[in-house]
């Protein structure tokens, strides 16, 4: 394997937090039908007051069921949608302020640092462009590579993600799902980002291919020093790749801890149920299961108090009335649950 590193990376790897998310909120208004009299009839609480930091060279896992606000969080961090309130910091830069200010150059500079790969590698590649065009398109926008070096750089990127030089002249339809995801990764890496958001990158791939992509992401982290926000509903892959994990439920982070701790000693009843719900590929590991009743409630009118209380097997009267704060059980383990609060008496 060729040595590959992004220039000037080493010196900036000292301080610990790369991305800080502070009190981030995103509400989507819901309108009634009709053309003339559109009335706002509700609010979707997609992301409600979430806080977390992502450290340098870390993989931060964000896990939750559909509709819990994982993808909205990713889009907010990249400022692809406007937040309702809250802040995101990338190193020293306040992302939202940077994007609000009109300086195009600064915006581009920030865009280069943060990249995104999507779930569906079939939909996120233009079928009419060759792989070479796809991977070199960022060069046109960011102008950080002189044109005479494009070819070399594209080949380097292809090699980095485990593809061959001759693939550059082909079109996306000639590739399998796993290979397409590699192309997407190469395209994201073309701008030499420091931070990569991977939104369900392996969900649409076959088992044997999934492992290839997960390993590739791990390898790239070592070789290029990337920081990931890894978003998935698949707990097994989150466990495999993440250093720390946040569990989301209905727009809120209900638990955040180091991966091993979270999976060994989950504290929040939702996390516990989520972990137990995953079938384990070992017939000997037949465990007792708590099967959660009901479904995730609508985020338009989320339940009062703790949002999980209608499905919670251990809910107490207080859970209906008051929302718990995010309690720090240990410096590395936060949980939003009254039952874990030592000051609460039941």
């Amino acid at each position: 394997m060729a040595k590959y590193s992004f220039k000037g990376r080493e010196k900036s790897l000292t301080s610990s937090d790369l991305v800080k998310v502070k009190n981030l909120v995103k509400h989507f208004p819901v309108y009634s039908r009709g053309v003339l009299l559109k009335k706002q009839i509700g609010i979707v609480h997609a992301v409600d007051n979430i806080d977390f930091d992502i450290r340098r060279k870390e993989t931060f896992g964000l896990v939750g069921e559909s509709g819990c606000g994982k993808t909205t969080t990713a889009r907010l961090i990249l400022n692809l949608i406007e937040p309702t309130s809250g802040d995101v910091f990338f190193k020293e830069d306040n992302v939202f302020e940077k994007f609000r200010s009109a300086d195009k150059k600064e915006k581009l500079r920030l865009r280069r640092k943060m990249q995104l790969i999507f779930q569906n590698p079939y939909g996120s590649l233009d079928p009419r462009m060759t792989v070479f065009d796809i991977i070199s398109e960022p060069f046109i926008i960011h102008k950080h590579i002189p044109k005479n070096q494009w070819k070399e750089k594209v080949y380097e990127l292809l090699e980095l993600v485990g593809l061959e030089e001759y693939h550059a002249e082909r079109y996306p339809h000639e590739f399998s799902g796993g290979q397409r995801q590699r192309i997407c990764i190469a395209r994201a890496l073309a701008v030499e980002p420091e931070f990569l958001i991977a939104d369900e990158p392996v969900s649409s791939l076959d088992v044997s291919i999934k492992a290839q992509i997960l390993n590739l992401l791990g390898e790239l982290q070592e070789r290029v020093g990337l920081t990931y926000l890894y978003i998935s509903h698949d707990l097994s892959s989150v466990r495999q790749i993440s250093h720390r994990v946040a569990v989301m439920y209905l727009g809120e982070i209900v638990e955040l801890a180091d991966t091993d701790e979270l999976f060994k000693e989950p504290l929040h009843p939702y996390t516990r149920a989520l972990i137990q719900a995953v079938p384990i590929p070992d017939p000997k590991a037949k465990t007792m299961k708590i099967v959660l009743p009901g479904e995730v409630p609508s985020p338009i009118n989320p339940p009062s108090g703790c949002r999980f209380h209608p499905r919670c097997p251990q809910a107490k009267p207080v859970c209906k009335e008051k929302k718990s704060e995010l309690l720090a059980i240990s410096p590395k383990h936060m949980v939003m649950c009254h039952l874990c609060n030592p000051r609460m008496q039941f």
Partner: protein, 330 residues
Amino acid sequence: MTETILNIEGLKTYFFTEAGIVKAVDNISFNLRKGESLGLVGESGSGKTVTALSVLRVVPKPGRTIDGKVEFNGEDLLEKTEKEMQRIRGSAIAITFQDPSSSLDPVYNIETQLCDVIMAHETVSKTEARKKVIELLEVVGIPEAETRMREYPHQFSGGMKQRVAIARALACEPTLLFADEPTTNLDVTIQAQVLNLLNDLKKKFGMSLVMITHDMGIIAEMTTRTVVLYAGRVCEIAKTYDLFERPRHPYTEALLAAVPRLDMRKTLRVIPGNIPNLIEPPAGCRFHPRCDYAKQICKEDVPVLEEIEPGHFVACHEWRNIRLKGERSH
């Protein structure tokens, strides 16, 4: 030994496309005992779904089952007339599909869709049929069945739709149910509910179940015996317990090593390369280009399914000579 309910021998279903002949199911044989839960596991294009469709004889064009035997209760389904098949489909053998939103008709309400199934197979009045629908919906765990059955599929969530699809499959109390990736589109907590439901119903109705999935976790949890498919052929058939403990086919072993696990972090082993193109599949053993143990013979001869221990079948030339790396240390 309990009696065999389904016996598939040498099944071949090919798709005659313009690009060439796709050998989606190429000489697959296995059997299913009464009351058993059999897992059919494989990646996309391995022939899991086409096998189920071939049994029910609903392979879409340009596909055709060109050879083989599908014996259901001792009668060959491939010899039946279309009319006889119609009677069997839905009443004796039923299937639920991966995506309930596309297998339920959006323009009819749930009541109509379920009554149709019942009235097509049984001579009952509309009132009786309706009563049965309410019962069925209650069995699969849909609250307020009487009011909800007048609703349309789009008014149900994904998990609820899958329950309706299961209710429809169970409407005439089939003896054999194919569940084709019943939980792939569902969230994990909903998946757990649906899997529990299938297990309960299986016991309640005494059905045989064929669980089609790519998820090794579901296989481990739901089935007693497993058939591993790769590129339209059977690799290995074994009791689920033995399959996970002592996989004997290199593909099974590699597949198990490639799955991330919730209960431990391990180095994922990668199966190199891609799933082969079924128009021109590799000669000999179809897995040989990706196999760590491949020898010259694997490139030339198609391995036959051998019984290496009672009830454990493997299609591999080299099974005697290889010690699989993946044999688990405990």
